[in-house]
């Protein structure tokens, strides 16, 4: 045990002095989400503000005089009206960005309204242009409400008469449950991915790197058992994977707080999710998961002759990890006895349920069982592989 501790201690020092590993293990998971979220959030916010504040250029047919709606529109919105004698072929001006929209009122629009009929307006716009549709639509809806009010008053009818039934929405799902259901898949995806990436570089460095630097012979000639060497190194690979995954989650939560465009309610709930129970359950799943990952990464790193070869083998394996993690984000797939037995898929789905507070502890036990089995298989495979002299000394 003392020897394993000595080996692990040395490997920790060695790993923490490797800039490449530090970057992948600490800097990227911790800063990625705050940087992405703050960047996206600020860009989104400023473009939304611009879209809602800028003056809209709206064309209309000039023959339609004293247009009550257009007056209403200029009162409510920052709009510049551009009259045309004919609107034929003018829609191309929208495409060229010379105009934001064109309003083509039907013949006798106000007469129809006055006669309790429906007046039609053709509203030409580009849906890809942010803010145009919603700004004009909002004013139109408000204008319509005003007209309805006037009509009802004219015929002396109470507004309740035309609204005989009202559906009052009373959602009993908590915000936490909703986040767990719709966005909870993102959290396991993040930590599964970073758990793998965080363990990957130390694994390559501590096994393939030893071969590349020709230090493997030095350690093999020391009076320690191969299983002690493997265990000491494996401790470091597993610890860095867990550490990296936890930092990614911290980064994700910090990032969400940077995203000022998110509703306050969601930000508050994300804070509530980070409770002792969640962290404990997460850690207990992360430990066997990372041992399983180490069980995949270590034999590959032992086999590879160079850092480059190790990376080229691990890259496709990375996809095999990401795909089941994505399954956790798909709608309709839930934690069941079958999915609880599939590694990675089970952890993604279980985390969603834990976040939503709806986890079934029976199924969680199946998840732990499945993860422990694959973790043990990974350890067994690594031990067997490290014991073979043609694997360790393959150069």
């Amino acid at each position: 045990m003392k020897t394993i501790f000595n080996i692990a201690r040395k490997e920790f020092i060695d790993t923490l002095r490797d800039k490449r590993t530090l970057l992948v293990m600490i800097v990227v998971p911790l800063l990625l989400f705050p940087v992405i979220f703050s960047f996206v959030s600020s860009i989104q916010q400023s473009s939304m503000e611009k879209a809602h504040q800028r003056q809209l250029k709206i064309g209309y047919l000039a023959t339609q005089q004293s247009n009550e709606f257009l007056n209403y529109l200029t009162e409510k919105e920052n709009v510049k009206l551009i009259p045309f004698r004919s609107i034929k072929g003018k829609t191309s001006l929208i495409k060229q960005d010379s105009l934001d929209a064109i309003l083509d009122f039907s013949e006798g629009f106000y007469a129809q309204i006055d006669n309790m009929q429906t007046g039609t307006v053709d509203f030409f716009y580009e849906s890809t242009e942010e803010g145009v549709k919603s700004r004009v639509e909002n004013v139109f809806e408000s204008f319509e409400e005003k007209l309805i009010g006037q009509r009802l008053e004219k015929i002396n009818i109470d507004a309740k008469v035309i609204n005989p039934v009202k559906l009052a929405h009373r959602d009993v799902a908590t915000t936490q449950e909703k986040i767990g259901k719709y966005a909870g898949g993102l959290i396991p995806y993040v930590f599964i991915l970073f758990c793998f990436i965080g363990a990957m570089y130390p694994a390559i460095d501590l096994f393939t790197g030893e071969k590349e630097r020709m230090t493997i012979e030095t350690i093999l000639t020391s009076p320690v058992k191969r299983i002690e060497i493997l265990s000491g190194k494996m401790v470091v690979v597993v610890a860095t994977g867990i550490f990296s995954a936890l930092l990614a989650i911290v980064g994700l939560f910090v990032g969400l707080n940077f995203a000022s465009t998110l509703p306050n309610e969601i930000i508050e709930v994300t804070g509530d999710i980070l409770q002792v129970k969640f962290i404990v359950l997460l850690l207990t799943m992360l430990i066997p998961l990372t041992i399983f990952f180490a069980g995949i990464l270590i034999p590959i790193s032992i086999y590879a002759k160079s850092f480059k070869e190790a990376q080229s083998i691990i890259t496709p394996v990375n996809v095999l990890v990401i795909v089941p993690a994505i399954v956790g984000m798909l709608p309709g797939i839930e934690l069941s006895i079958q999915t609880a037995a599939i590694p990675i898929v089970n952890i993604a789905l279980a985390t969603k349920e834990i976040i939503a507070g709806t986890i079934d502890y029976g199924l969680l036990t199946v998840v732990y069982g499945s993860l422990i089995i694959v973790a043990l298989a990974g350890v067994f495979f690594s031990v067997r592989y490290f014991a073979r002299e043609n694997n360790i000394l393959r150069v």
Partner: protein, 255 residues
């Protein structure tokens, strides 16, 4: 003492290796029926061209590899049954320094002292002694990656000798080193002999062998072609130089 009896080592070939080496069989014999005896206080040289089986033999003695056949005794211990204890008696030094670039010399040597189960006090004393003798004190706190090749080789020597091994194995120890650094290795080998240690070193440089060794074995294609004392080798020479004699013996075998 090292006693090697009827030692053979075969490696299983992968499909790629068979294709690359133009071989049809599944196995290749790296060491074939080798017998050696290295005595304490004497320097034994394993001489042979590249690919002759020198490194494989030394790796078998140091228990990195397991023999396919035969037996190895190191310091009275069976290398196959008591591999861990055997490694505790051995110091292994190669031309490639085999050091961790991100550690300091102090951390590196301390680490190997701990792996050799040395107690804190002995380790500290022995480390200070070696660092002083080899002049490592001046750079003991620097990262190994920042050191010159000469400095690195000194650290490598300290790493090899920290546990004061009974048996010291040198695998082409001067390969790729500059003259000054190579000289420090030659000095170390001589000191080991003076300290009555069992020394075995592999080389393909005849001048080194001539300078250092008491006993000599020439290995080629995994088999021993010659095995006797250096004095006997000189006495039986049919060529006018040691190098020519070495080449003659190899060629004779090939023909």
């Amino acid at each position: 003492m090292i006693q090697v009896t009827n030692l053979s080592k075969k490696f299983k070939l992968s499909k790629q290796q068979k294709k690359k080496m133009h071989l049809s069989g599944d196995w290749i014999t790296a060491v074939n029926d080798v017998n050696l005896k290295c005595e304490p206080g004497r320097i034994f040289s394993l001489l042979g061209p590249n690919g002759a089986g020198k490194t494989t033999t030394l790796r078998l003695i140091s228990t990195i590899l397991q023999p396919s056949k035969g037996s190895i005794q190191v310091a009275g211990l069976d290398a196959q049954k008591e591999g861990q204890k055997v490694r505790g008696k051995i110091g292994f030094l190669t031309g490639s320094t085999g050091l961790y670039d991100r550690l300091t010399p102090e951390e590196m040597v301390t680490y190997f002292g701990k792996l050799n189960s040395m107690n804190q006090e002995t380790l500290k004393y022995r480390r200070n002694e070696l660092f002083h003798t080899l002049g490592i004190d001046k750079f003991s706190g620097k990262r190994i990656g920042e050191l010159s090749s000469g400095m690195k080789q000194k650290v490598s020597i300290a790493r090899t000798m920290i546990h004061d091994p009974e048996v010291v194995i040198f695998d082409e120890p001067t390969s790729g080193l500059d003259v000054i650094t190579a000289e420090s290795i030659i000095e170390l080998i001589k000191q080991c002999k003076e300290q009555n240690k069992t020394v075995i070193f592999s080389s393909h440089i005849m001048s080194e062998v001539d300078l250092l060794c008491d006993d000599l074995a020439i290995i080629h294609d995994g088999g021993i072609l010659y095995n006797d004392t250096m004095d006997q080798f000189r006495a039986q020479m049919q060529s006018d130089s040691l190098t020519k004699e070495f080449i003659r013996i190899i060629n004779e075998q090939q023909n």
